[in-house]
């Protein structure tokens, strides 16, 4: 039997709960009457507003301009009028300006024209990707054009496409791989055209055999030089660092980027967004969101305009079947709990979850008994218990010396801690205070 690739150190096995929504085909959410489009939907500096209150906007029109090297443009997801510009707080606690757009429902639906892409060179592709405001859709929302820029003197050995989707509940990427297989592959080939990798690998967790099969069939049809690598089901298999370890066997040193080990990593959702940007010249104005969780009446995978309020998503899924105890934007391991149903979907929202039975997960904390489970499961080789104790005593510099900055808040330590210590919370505080 062939050994299934995986990362070695650490990791946990939470129940994946994907069955709730994995068989639901992607549905188009009807355009809501009002959208809230934040100017900060990406990692880096917020975009600068190009429109004012009262202006009319057209679908796909640029309404926010990137304000730095690591920043991204924002486009209007609908035709309508800007009702106001106001401060909003996003699910990840980022406070920023946002357009409130009243949608004109009588507007003609926009037809996106097909543009051939084979003849484009790297510069042209990067320019289009930047112009269409594409950012990573996996959650970190790193501006894609920056990621695809290969620094001078470096070359790309491997383009690794992330189809792992290791967060429980989420099935958006899974459905996308099943339903938009060819488009994703085209998107990958566009990236390959821009970065000229020696090999291309798509990593998919082994719990999605249908997606692996679909990708392989489409690759054969199109005769693309892409391999699909089934990966062991283990969280956080879909983290950039773990994914590269599993697929090409390289470890990114602390504080370095994939390109430093000759790799570019890209989410399948991003590949699809790149396809739409380059081939259809359609900006990133909508995305697939999994609406799931035990408290959702009808879990679904929805294609949603950016700026849609969570309230509209829930209504389309027939609301909640019982009072949820927690609402989460993203997956349950790394996502953000929020409480306002007016919170908008952004470019990085992979899922909206309504969970109950939270009490058994959020049990009261007890004393650390140094069992060492957090150390055993930490995929980065850190000692969460020791870091936690240092941070509790405000010894941030000592925590930094123990490589606190390597922590990526994957949550394995807190997931496994028998004392229910909020370890990730401590790491977040420690990193913030340590940076100062």
């Amino acid at each position: 039997m062939q050994r299934i690739a995986t990362f070695r150190k650490g990791g946990v096995h939470p129940s994946d709960r994907k069955a709730l929504s994995s068989s639901c085909a992607i549905e188009q959410l009807p355009m809501p009457v009002e959208l809230i489009v934040p100017l900060s939907q990406h990692l880096g500096a917020p975009a600068t507003a190009l429109k004012q209150k009262g202006d009319t906007v057209e679908i796909g029109e640029k309404i926010g301009k990137a304000s730095g090297f690591i920043s991204a443009d924002i486009h209007s997801p609908a035709t309508g009028t800007i009702k106001e510009v106001r401060k909003v707080t996003l699910a990840n606690s980022v406070a920023c300006d946002a357009y409130v757009i009243t949608v004109d429902n009588d507007a003609e639906p926009k037809q996106w024209e097909y543009h051939p892409f084979r003849a484009l060179d790297a510069q042209e592709i990067l320019a289009i990707v930047q112009d269409m405001g594409v950012v990573g859709t996996g959650g970190a929302t790193f501006p894609t054009h920056v990621k695809l820029m290969v620094p001078k003197g470096k070359s790309v050995d491997a383009l690794v496409v992330n189809g792992v989707e290791c967060e429980p509940y989420l099935t958006a990427d899974h459905r996308l791989m099943l339903e938009k297989t060819e488009h994703i592959l085209d998107g990958i080939m566009i990236v390959a055209q821009a970065t000229k990798p020696k090999k291309i690998i798509i990593g998919v967790e082994n719990n999605k055999p249908d997606a692996i099969q679909a990708l392989r069939a489409a690759i054969n049809m199109a005769d693309y030089p892409i391999t699909v690598e089934p990966l062991k089901v283990k969280y956080p298999q879909g983290d950039e660092k773990q994914l590269l370890k599993a697929t090409i066997g390289r470890e990114i040193p602390s504080g370095k980027l994939p390109i430093d080990v000759g790799a570019v990593v890209l989410n399948v959702g991003t590949a699809y967004a790149i396809f739409e940007a380059v081939v259809l010249r359609k900006p990133l104005i909508d995305r697939v969101v999994t609406v799931s969780g035990e408290a959702i009446s009808t879990p679904k995978n929805l294609r949603v305009p950016i700026g849609t309020k969570v309230f509209d998503l829930l209504s389309f899924c027939n609301g909640t079947s019982r009072q949820p105890e927690k609402m989460i934007s993203g997956g349950p391991m790394m996502g953000f709990a929020f409480f306002d149903d007016q919170t908008p979907v952004t470019k990085g929202t992979s899922g909206v979850l309504a969970l109950d039975h939270q009490k058994e997960h959020d049990a009261p904390t007890t004393a650390c008994i140094s069992c060492g489970r957090c150390v055993a499961v930490c995929p980065m080789g850190l000692q969460p218990t020791k870091l936690n104790k240092l941070i509790e005593h405000a010894r941030y510099e000592d925590a930094m010396k123990l490589n606190l900055m390597d922590c990526k808040e994957c949550g394995c330590c807190a997931y496994t801690c028998p004392a229910h210590l909020p370890l990730v919370h401590a790491m977040k505080i420690g990193k913030k205070m340590g940076r100062k």
């Binding site: 996502g335 709990a337 490589n403």
Partner: protein
């Protein structure tokens, strides 16, 4: 949406649902077969000692809870400490001894340092060692289990003590440990004599007695096989890992085999391994005492160093020390080293290898 009822907290929003008290109760469950065997072998007296130890531990914890204004009985750690103390007592010991041991364990070894998680020494071991040095005579008075006919009457020393006492005697020079026992007519059960015969004397009857628990000793330490069954349960439930027991027993086996014969006037590499491995507090110590999470290192590498240290000191104390105590003292010695091990032994950091190989490449 009724906003106030929603919980907002830091990720992750899922938990493995493990908790500290489940760990403690599971360890107690794993100890149960060996403890029950002790009661069966030594009778009502053993049951009394176990109950008194547990009750005193829990009651002491409850009293101290009054002072520290918390409620920690339910986490099961006081119960476990009491059970371990009881299992470490000779069956015939007067009840005030386990009472004192339990109070010392909970109040001095654990509570004074800040309660569960903050103690540097395994509380049960601290209690045992405290009473051992205070009442050495009472703590060394072992009775034989009901299955073995004693030669000289009511009480008898354990195998290890007997061997140790005979070593100075020049009459039994150059005999292996089981041979010494047999030479002086130490009692063995009918069962083990039969099994030994069946195996063609490959294993001495004393080893077989020790493995099945047909020997004199502390209430809970005599049956190696039942302790191993409990240990298997803990390993399967992933409550303990293999690192400490394997490093401990492995080191002990190597040293015993290499140098164990010297004491008996024999050469190198002649030490008998099987009898020492299954007798005394080896199994109880390796799987249930050394693996105490609070007082052992958290990293895999640290656990191996810790276990190796215990194995080495156990060998040293058993073969060249003057006291019958060896496992308990060896574990306590390594408890002292735990913070230092924790300080200097780090897990391998992700990306470290890559960095080194990059440097190598650059050097080329």
């Amino acid at each position: 949406m009724e906003a106030p009822t929603l919980v907002v907290s830091s990720s992750p929003h899922l938990h493995a649902k493990s908790n500290t008290s489940a760990i403690m109760w599971n360890v107690s469950i794993a100890l149960a077969p060996a403890a029950l065997w002790g009661v069966f072998a030594f009778g009502f007296r053993a049951l009394l000692v176990l109950c008194v130890s547990i009750a005193t531990s829990v009651f002491t914890e409850w009293l101290l809870n009054r002072i520290s204004k918390e409620f920690t009985i339910r986490d099961g750690s006081a119960f476990l400490t009491g059970l371990l103390i009881g299992m470490n007592m000779p069956p015939a010991v007067p009840v005030f001894v386990p009472i004192l041991a339990s109070i010392f364990a909970i109040a001095v070894a654990k509570w004074v340092f800040g309660g569960l998680g903050s103690n540097w020494i395994n509380p049960a071991l601290a209690g045992r060692v405290f009473v051992f040095f205070s009442f050495t005579g009472l703590m060394s008075n072992y009775s034989l289990p009901r299955f073995v006919q004693s030669v000289d009457g009511i009480s008898s020393a354990t195998m290890l003590t007997t061997i140790k006492m005979q070593i100075g005697d020049s009459a039994i020079q150059q005999l292996s440990s089981p041979a010494i026992l047999s030479e002086i007519g130490y009692p063995a059960s009918q069962f083990s004599l039969k099994v030994s015969q069946m195996l063609g004397d490959a294993l001495s009857p004393y080893t077989i007695d020790a493995f099945f628990g047909l020997v004199g000793g502390s209430i809970g330490e005599i049956s190696a096989i039942l302790l191993l069954i409990g240990a298997t349960y803990l390993l399967a439930r992933k409550i303990i890992t293999w690192h400490i027991p394997v490093a401990f027993l492995g080191t002990f086996i190597v040293f015993t085999w290499m140098f164990g014969g010297l004491r008996n006037g024999m050469g190198l590499f002649t030490g008998d391994v099987m009898l020492p491995l299954f007798s005394g507090g080896m199994m109880l110590g390796a799987f249930f005492m050394a693996t105490d999470m609070v007082t052992s290192p958290t990293t895999a590498k640290g656990m191996i160093i810790f276990g190796t240290g215990i194995g080495f000191f156990t060998f040293l104390l058993r073969y060249f020390g003057s006291l019958p105590e060896s496992v308990s003292l060896a574990i306590i010695i390594m408890n002292i080293f735990t913070p230092t091990i924790e300080r200097y032994v780090m897990p391998k950091r992700f990306g470290e290898v890559a960095k080194k190989s990059v440097k190598k490449k650059e050097a080329k």
